[in-house]
């Protein structure tokens, strides 16, 4: 059974804190993605990665960075959290051959106070 796990389901941080969101997949997928989901806006792509040590900006990369040191792990970093980064964060992965069918983790609801 395919599995994408995210380190936390709920997270509360203060403005200015550095925040790490971790995502791990056990399907040996090449591609990994970070989205945020906001009401009325759907899922918006923050960053994605096609391979280890590779990263590409999505639609809304400002205020975020990512790290992919190992194939199975893709980390999203908020260098200095702000209140407008309060959101649901979803990680996904897909095979290099079937990039369009993505498998999602359960999400992390981040609140920045």
């Amino acid at each position: 059974d395919v599995k994408v796990t995210q380190s936390s389901r709920y997270l509360v941080k203060r403005t200015g804190e550095k925040v790490f969101l971790e995502c791990v997949q056990d399907m040996d997928h090449e591609n990994m993605f970070w989205y945020r989901q906001d009401p009325g806006l759907g899922l918006r792509l923050i960053y994605f990665s096609y391979d280890v040590k590779m990263k590409e900006k999505g639609d809304i990369p400002e205020g975020y960075s990512v790290s992919r040191e190992k194939k199975e792990r893709f980390s999203l970093i908020l260098e200095s959290a702000s209140t407008n980064q309060t959101s649901m964060y979803l990680c996904a992965s897909s095979s290099g051959l079937v990039i369009n069918e993505q498998f999602f983790g359960p999400g992390t609801r981040l609140t920045v106070l």
Partner: protein
């Protein structure tokens, strides 16, 4: 700029009837379309997809229709069941570029 739009934030239908969820897109380069289903506290799961070379794809109770000239696709669920109650996201994709999602439609199927 939202290239994929789901204009109905919510839809309510009676159990056993048909549910029709709609999606419009603006980018004519999109050549692959997907529907994802999301339950509360879970990530979205892939439901059904359609390539732009087709106008219909069916999988059990779920059928997706694509009208390329109108840049419109729809998901039909027949018959609807209470377990279908979820948020449905339409997504579009082309040429190894990132996937674009709609805002989602919350479907409620009443017993």
């Amino acid at each position: 700029d939202q290239q994929v739009k789901q204009n109905s934030p919510s839809l309510s239908v009676q159990e056993g009837r048909i549910s029709i969820l709609n999606c419009d897109y603006t980018n004519s380069m999109f050549d692959y379309f997907l529907w994802y289903k999301k339950y509360p506290a879970e990530g979205p799961t892939f439901l059904i997809s359609i390539s732009s070379i087709k106008d219909k794809n069916e999988d059990g109770r779920f059928t997706v229709f694509l009208n390329k000239s109108a840049k419109h696709l729809s998901l039909h669920i027949v018959p609807s069941q209470p377990g279908d109650s979820a948020v449905y996201f339409c997504a579009a994709y082309y040429n190894n570029n990132d996937m674009r999602f709609g805002a989602g439609t919350r479907l409620t199927v009443k017993p």
